[in-house]
């Protein structure tokens, strides 16, 4: 029986590396002086500096996780936590330095611009270098800016929400993030405003040994709605890179947020990202997530359904190839009556890649009449790979409907045979089945990202029929 060969995505366009030039590069390691230095460089107000220093203490007091993928390669002392690019904040594309622009060109940012997507907050290393936003959004009162500007211009909002959804002591890398965070997006959608075009931002890392700690804070006020898209790509380096971002989403009563993201880090990245959403009464958050790239990922988006009638949906795919260990999953806490969640997760492992679906469903005692349904499917493309499913289901009350199911296996011979009996070649049949496997996710993605994913699931079948 021949094996299915799935090609690696052509990473060339992502692995372009500009010459290493920094206006400022902080000394290696992490201590109080460094955090203070970052804070000074950022012109932080006093309250933000306090948050950073407190977080540093928490960071030092917490241990590395005792579970999940091996993180021993990570040497925090060697990772310069902050690299400031030469260019300052730009308001027009023309002002962006040519060198940086070239990289963005290759990554397809102006493409997205031409498609009149609402705003592009592109992050080059640790600082936002490019920002544009449509006029009508401004008129509607939508705030879309980088985090640093938000801290300076909207301190009252930021103070109320910053590190409130994700507590600083959640785990070691959240504490690290809070101490050294830099860059990221801030979005505020006022009451009742429906943003009908998706907002996009694109992240990129471009420095050896530098971590990226961008902070995304999105507040969708009562009755408002938003679709936010985040994509990640980083050039390839030999040394271990760390990404410890943090995403905090607040979906107020009756509001709607759709958060789509493709994490496509280069194969040396340790991606230890934290994403959480607090969902209000009758509000809804939908997550669409694709996890590719990176050497190690530990990524578990979480919905906290705090309001009565809150809903969440998670649709995610993980694809682990050679040398990758992707540990992802979804967590949901049902904290109020009549809440509901639907989870649909898929994973593909090949050439020694390891996928783990690690998840939590907790239905609290007061969450009467809540519903939750979880389904995860894993596809193994060869016998060198690994696929694990580790879901915890914690049900604390009786008036619930809860179900969980998972499947593991290879492509079924019967399905191939059926398609072949319809006149398809074996290769085409297999390709069709894998595309079909990923389709529920790819159909949820915006077109550029779906194209990227299709690239990834570009299949090549070898060997004799049998």
């Amino acid at each position: 029986m021949s094996k299915i060969q799935v090609e690696d995505i052509n990473r060339n366009i992502y692995d372009i590396k500009n010459e290493d030039e920094y206006a400022f590069k902080i000394q290696k390691g992490l201590n109080r002086e460094i955090v203070e230095e970052i804070s000074r460089q950022k012109n932080d107000p006093e309250w933000m500096k306090e948050i950073r220093l407190k977080a540093l203490e928490t960071y030092n007091s917490l241990e590395l996780p005792t579970w999940g993928p091996d993180l021993s390669e990570l040497k925090m002392d060697e990772i310069a936590t902050y690299v400031k690019p030469k260019s300052k904040l730009n308001t027009s594309w023309d002002d962006v330095p040519e060198e940086i622009k070239n990289t963005f060109d290759t990554l397809g940012i102006p493409e997205a611009e031409r498609k009149s997507l609402a705003g592009v907050g592109a992050q080059y290393d640790s600082e936002v270098v490019y920002h544009s936003m449509k006029e009508d959004l401004l008129k509607q009162g939508v705030i879309y800016t980088d985090m640093e500007t938000a801290v300076r211009e909207y301190p009252e909002i930021v103070k109320n929400y910053f590190m409130k959804c994700v507590p600083v002591n959640d785990h070691k890398f959240v504490a690290l993030h809070a101490a050294v965070w830099s860059g990221g997006s801030f979005v505020y959608v006022p009451k009742g405003v429906k943003v009908d075009i998706p907002l996009q931002s694109y992240f990129r890392l471009n420095s050896p040994e530098s971590g990226q700690f961008e902070h995304t804070l999105i507040i969708v006020d009562e009755g408002a709605s938003l679709h936010f898209i985040e994509g990640c790509s980083a050039p390839k380096y030999n040394k271990v890179n760390l990404h410890a971002g943090c995403v905090e989403l607040y979906v107020k009563d009756n509001a709607y947020l759709r958060y789509s993201t493709i994490e496509n880090w280069s194969k040396n990245m340790m991606n230890l990202n934290t994403k959480k959403a607090i969902v209000g009464k009758n509000a809804q958050i939908d997550w669409v997530t694709g996890s590719f790239g990176s050497k190690v990922s530990m990524l578990y988006p979480m919905s906290i359904l705090n309001g009565e009638g809150a809903k969440t949906e998670y649709t995610g795919i993980t694809f682990a190839g050679k040398g990758q260990n992707l540990d992802t999953g979804f967590k949901v806490i049902h904290n109020a009556p009549n809440t509901s969640s639907v989870v649909n997760s898929k994973s593909i492992s090949k050439e020694g890649g390891a996928c783990t679906y690690r998840a939590l469903v907790r239905i609290a005692e007061n969450a009467k009449q809540s519903k939750c349904s979880v389904s995860c499917e894993s596809l193994m493309l060869d016998d060198n790979s690994r696929s694990d499913t580790i879901p915890v289901n914690d049900i604390q009350t009786d008036e619930v409907e809860f179900s969980h199911e998972a499947k593991i296996g290879k492509i079924s011979d019967k399905e191939i045979f059926y398609l072949m009996s319809r006149g398809l070649s074996e290769e085409d049949a297999k390709a069709m089945i894998v595309r079909g496997f990923a389709y529920p996710i790819s159909k949820e993605l915006p077109v550029e990202y779906a194209v990227e994913m299709n690239n990834l699931i570009n299949m090549e079948l070898k060997g004799a029929i049998g």
Partner: protein, 346 residues
């Protein structure tokens, strides 16, 4: 504090499922020999039995306890005369502590019943290891029954080794004890070995059930099926951890795992961690868990036949358990269990 019954793979500590922590459990070290043990077998060696270690088990402290202080040890080599083996441990006021080691070498087909029950209100303690080797081509049927009083502590580690074409049918009925902690491990090395594990748990008042079932599929065409049916009343709490581990080389292996928990009170707590671990592609693995209260429509239907609500509820639960209880070939034991379930559901 006693920390036991670790999962084979750790997950986030916040999920509180990696192991179970028990306060106020004393492991007795000085125990007299356990008298009320009735063993029916023609090929039995008692007490002069060497205790060997466990791959998983409940933890070092409990294993050490069996190795050093066991007050009843039994080794049975099943032969042609030994069709029905019964081991009944009947606790009474004088015999409340059992530290127990059972080894069964199944060279021939057999039925085995191991039952723990109490005729005393005193707090009892059981720390038991049951090891079974299912030899080539052998079909063995094992029933383990826990009917201890609800102030007792019950620790049970089951370890099984399955050779080529062997068929192990295992049934665990867990109704008793305050803390009931079970660990089950099947090492399926033989080609085409089959393991069917079915279990019932019923928790009420402040009972705690911690169930950790592990099957490792190594041989080609091995097949494991884990089916667990449970019900929780009052403040009962249950952790179910089930792991099917497809090891590299177990081509064409199949694993199914299903757990269904009926919640009969809004204070009952159910945690389930059904794991599938896989390093082989040519396999089929499925798991599902579900929990919730009983279907109102079903209850209504039965009530419309003139049966009151409590009886209707009991009928539905018993119907779910029935399929598993039917496996018990000994009619006397089966009836005893039915009565006991009925009593505990009142």
């Amino acid at each position: 504090m006693l920390k036991v019954n670790r999962t084979p793979v750790r997950t986030s500590r916040n999920f509180k499922i990696n192991n179970i922590k028990l306060e106020d459990v004393n492991i007795p070290e000085k125990v007299w020999s356990f008298k009320p043990a009735t063993i029916t077998s023609s090929n039995l060696v008692e007490n002069n039995v060497a205790v060997s270690g466990l791959t998983y088990g409940l933890g070092d402290s409990l294993l050490k306890n069996v190795m050093q202080c066991a007050n009843h040890k039994a080794k049975i080599t099943v032969d042609k005369q030994d069709k029905d083996i019964k081991m009944i441990y009947h606790f009474d006021d004088e015999n409340t502590n059992l530290i127990n080691y059972i080894e069964i070498d199944a060279k021939e087909n057999a039925n085995v019943i191991v039952e723990y029950k109490s005729n005393t209100e005193k707090e009892c303690f059981v720390n038991s290891i049951i090891k079974i080797v299912a030899c080539q081509q052998v079909m063995i049927n094992v029933f383990v029954i826990n009917l201890l009083n609800e102030s007792s502590n019950f620790f049970l580690a089951m370890e099984n080794s399955l050779e080529e074409n062997s068929n192990l049918q295992y049934t665990v009925i867990d109704l008793g004890a305050k803390n009931s902690i079970q660990n089950y491990y099947a090492n399926m090395t033989g080609e085409s070995a089959n393991n069917d594990l079915q279990a019932i748990y019923l928790g009420r008042k402040n009972q705690l059930k911690d169930i950790n079932y592990i099957a490792e599929l190594r041989g080609q065409k091995t097949n494991v099926n884990i089916d667990v049916q449970g019900a929780l009343k009052d403040n009962a709490k249950k952790n179910f951890k089930g792991t099917i581990d497809f090891k590299k080389g177990c081509k064409k292996a199949k694993g199914d795992e299903n757990e269904y928990c009926m919640l009969l009170s809004d204070r009952a707590k159910s945690i389930a961690l059904p794991m599938l671990l896989c390093t082989e592609d040519d396999v089929e693995g499925n798991h599902s868990t579900a929990s919730g209260k009983l279907n109102e429509k079903e209850i209504f239907y039965i009530m419309s036949r003139g049966i009151n609500k409590q009886e209707a509820t009991k009928l539905i639960i018993k119907a779910r358990f029935q399929k598993i209880l039917e496996r018990i070939c000994d009619e006397e034991v089966r009836n005893e269990l039915m009565e006991e379930i009925d009593r505990r559901l009142d």
